[in-house]
């Protein structure tokens, strides 16, 4: 069995490593192409980012163009950037001149903090609600979570965020509307992301609980004489866990999509926030750095999901 597990582990990690490389290349290329397509003079926007709009003229923009080699053909710029990437460098920010890696490093902590808080919230809400719905299908908890999860999934994060901001901050004044560093700043963005995820989690948990409880082996466990609680503990949890981890892991992509919007909305200084600013100032290396990091984060989450599945399910990964 140990051999199988090691084999499975090696396969998961190998597959994910290849995926990370392919995703990096694709994301980098797409990013570069899309930024080139943005309207307006890139050099002008970068100069404005450095000196402010009021102090920019054609001469300043030209100076920037010369300095950054923006007049070069696009493919040369891209090749240059790829070369840097191969050496493990993400380049310098065009606006601040600082190393992209360092700049992103500042933001990464904030993003991880927000993501962890949202996932904790989603699980804290979704698991018990899903369990309650799955154990009593058609009951009030089931109907309520169905309604809530549909509503939450239908609401785009920025709208949910605005509603929460209006309700909890403007009307009730419980927490600050936006910002970072004060007590309670984390609550609104985490709630916005967490609520969206929790609805989905609850439905996934509900469906897998129902499937397990209605399964032949679960009924057999009960008629063997196990108490309901013992049957759930021994046969329910692990089997429910397998499905929940597999599906919920995939849904974590919502987290990455949500982080960009929610961070900007609540002025939370994470990677998503940095990304939006970088797009605004046409800070190409910064855009590429941020998207690459988000893509890697996605691959990392998938890898963790796979490893967790491998740990829970003794049957090992499915044969291709």
């Amino acid at each position: 069995m140990a051999a199988i597990t090691q084999h499975g582990l090696a396969r998961v990690l190998g597959q994910r490593l290849i995926q990370a490389l392919v995703v990096s290349l694709l994301v980098a290329t797409l990013c570069f192409v899309l930024v080139q397509q943005l309207p307006g003079d890139m050099a002008f926007r970068i100069a404005a980012g450095r000196y402010g709009y009021d102090y920019v003229d054609a001469a300043a923009a030209d100076a920037v163009r010369q300095e950054l080699g923006l007049a070069q053909p696009a493919w040369q710029q891209f090749a240059h950037w790829l070369q840097q990437l191969a050496h493990g460098q993400l380049g310098q920010s065009l606006v601040t001149g600082g190393a992209v890696l360092e700049e992103i490093g500042h933001h990464l902590g904030a993003t991880l903090q927000l993501a962890a808080a949202s996932v904790a919230l989603a699980l804290g809400l979704g698991l018990p609600l899903g369990l309650a719905s799955g154990l009593r299908p058609g009951g009030w908890a089931d109907r309520l979570t169905l309604l809530a999860s549909v509503a939450l999934r239908a609401l785009p994060p920025f709208l949910l965020g605005l509603m929460l901001m209006l309700g909890l901050s403007v009307q009730l004044g419980w927490v600050p509307a936006a910002g970072h560093g004060e007590d309670g700043n984390l609550l609104l963005p985490a709630l916005t992301l967490g609520l969206g995820l929790s609805g989905l989690t609850a439905r996934i948990v509900r469906d897998s609980v129902l499937a397990v409880v209605q399964s032949d082996y679960y009924r057999f466990a009960l008629t063997k004489g196990l108490s309901p609680w013992r049957a759930f503990w021994r046969h329910g949890l692990r089997n429910i866990g397998v499905t929940v981890v597999a599906y919920a892991g995939v849904q974590l992509v919502l987290l990455i999509e949500g982080v960009v919007v929610v961070e900007s909305l609540f002025a939370w200084p994470g990677i998503g926030h940095a990304l939006v600013h970088a797009v605004f100032w046409r800070d190409v290396p910064m855009i590429q750095g941020c998207t690459l990091l988000l893509a890697w984060l996605f691959v990392l989450l998938n890898t963790l999901t796979d490893l967790l599945c491998l740990a829970i399910d003794p049957r090992g990964p499915a044969e291709p």
Binding site: M1, S215, D216, Y217, R219, F220, A221, L222, T223, K224, G225, L226, R230, R234, H235, R238, N239, V242, I312, D313, P314, R315
Partner: protein, 457 residues
């Protein structure tokens, strides 16, 4: 242990009676077998005794042993007996075992005595059943027969005096069926009670004891197995016995025509395990051929290779020219799994009609000939009986005008009456369009009656 009495057991859905009141006595060491076709309410009897009736159904009557009685109307009062005095041997053992737990703990948790000795007891039980080597296996690593023995070990470790076996032989091959019969006889030999609910007449014959024949929720005949199965009194029992393949009258097979398909030196292995090697097979137009083997011998795989659904490791298959790809069709073992569960049968069949450009009339003719009401089409696959669904699956393939139909155990999940009916429909329709049949089965009698040539793998 004392004998168990069931007084006036009945099952109702609101005012509608699904199982008519009946009195039974179960004697230790003597089998009681309930026979009947699917939908005769015989499974309800087991659930009523156990207290596991689906929501909406009510049981009446009582269970009595010595001076103790348990009214059946209150399902909860028997929960304390589960494992210790009442046990149920699940249908389809492969799905009744937790896929994520090893064999030993699954068996050990059935022990109802002192917790410390559970492991040792389970080991002993598994050893008696010849499963020492499988203790650390997961269910997916077990064969059908092994899973059957593990489920038996788990169900009986608690030492229950009454074992309820609900369709225990469904979907099992000959060898696993023989194992099952042995296990049940062993249980009886230990001086315990056994109530078996089945449509497998061979199993009833092996177990002996008393036999109860049910139809439409009503007992039509009750007596010693030797008498009921030898000299049945009731016409329904006679009909049931005549539906067993060995009792079928001989069937005339059409003469084979030109060659249709040639498989040459076919071989297939999964991993290091070789299924078969150097198999040559010829099928002529309109011919009826059976492939016989135990489960796991690769007979379904061979059929799939002939149809081009699976690639062979070695060898080749030649098809007669001029036939479209859809001329090679397959009828699946479990009709429920062969239909999309949430799509209505109407949609499922009309899609095929549209695909092959046939008029609606051809579907209606087929429905009429196979005695299926057009009203059935409005339902979902789970809402019609197994026999009806298998006939609908047959219609689905017939619409495509097949030249060869590969039927993979098409009746192994059906009761004998439904089986006989389905097979006759199948043969009539194939003869009508001159389609050849490749039947995969483990039932020698069925193969002998339905086909003119049998191949063993």
């Amino acid at each position: 242990m004392n004998s168990l009495h069931l007084d006036g057991v009945a099952v109702y859905q609101q005012q509608h009676c699904l199982l008519q009141a009946l009195d039974l006595t179960l004697y230790p060491g003597e089998a009681l077998t309930v026979l009947g076709e699917s939908g005769s309410g015989k499974s309800l009897l087991a659930h009523a005794i156990m207290g596991t009736l689906p929501a909406g159904l009510r049981a009446r009557g009582q269970l009595r042993q010595g001076s103790q009685t348990w009214p059946l109307a209150d399902a909860a009062n028997r929960r304390a007996l589960w494992g210790q005095q009442l046990a149920i041997l699940p249908q389809e053992p492969a799905t009744a075992l937790d896929p994520t737990m090893r064999v030993l703990p699954q068996v050990a948790e059935g022990w109802r005595g002192e917790a410390g000795s559970a492991q040792a007891e389970a080991r002993g039980q598994l050893a008696r059943l010849g499963l020492q080597a499988a203790q650390r296996h997961y269910p997916h690593q077990l064969s059908g027969g092994m899973a059957q023995r593990v489920a038996f070990a788990a169900a009986t470790l608690g030492g229950a005096g009454l074992l309820l076996a609900d369709e225990p032989s469904k979907g099992l091959d000959n060898r696993a069926c023989a194992t099952l019969a042995q296990l049940l006889q062993q249980h009886l030999a230990d001086g315990r009670c056994l109530l078996t609910i089945t449509h497998d007449i061979a199993l009833a014959r092996t177990l002996g004891g008393q036999v109860l024949v049910m139809r439409g929720g009503e007992v039509v005949e009750h007596g010693p197995a030797s008498r009921v199965l030898q000299q049945p009194q009731h016409p329904y029992t006679q009909q049931l016995l005549a539906a067993e393949p060995p009792a079928w009258p001989a069937i005339a097979h059409p003469a084979p025509g030109d060659w249709l398909l040639q498989g040459r030196s076919l071989a297939k292995a999964y991993g290091s395990q070789a299924l078969f090697r150097n198999v040559d097979i010829d099928i002529a137009a309109g011919e009826r051929v059976a492939l016989l083997a135990d489960s796991g011998a690769g007979k379904s795989t061979l059929g799939n290779i002939l149809l081009g659904l699976t690639r062979a490791d070695h060898g080749s298959v030649r098809y007669r020219d001029g036939l479209p790809r859809t001329a090679w069709q397959k009828l699946y073992q479990d009709p429920v799994q062969a239909f999309a569960p949430h799509i209505s049968l109407h949609t499922a069949l009309h899609d095929v009609l549209q695909h092959c450009g046939q008029p609606l009339a051809s579907l209606e003719t087929l429905l009429h000939r196979l005695r299926l009401s057009p009203g059935l089409l409005a339902r979902k696959p789970s809402q019609v009986s197994g026999g009806e669904l298998q006939r609908l699956a047959l219609i689905r393939t017939l619409l495509l005008q097949p030249a060869l139909l590969f039927a993979d155990e098409p009746t192994s999940r059906l009761d004998p009456l439904t089986q006989q009916d389905t097979v006759h429909c199948l043969l009539d329709e194939l003869a009508r369009i001159g389609c050849a049949l490749l039947l995969v089965t483990h039932d020698h009698a069925l193969a002998g009656k339905t086909t003119s040539r049998q191949l063993r793998l």
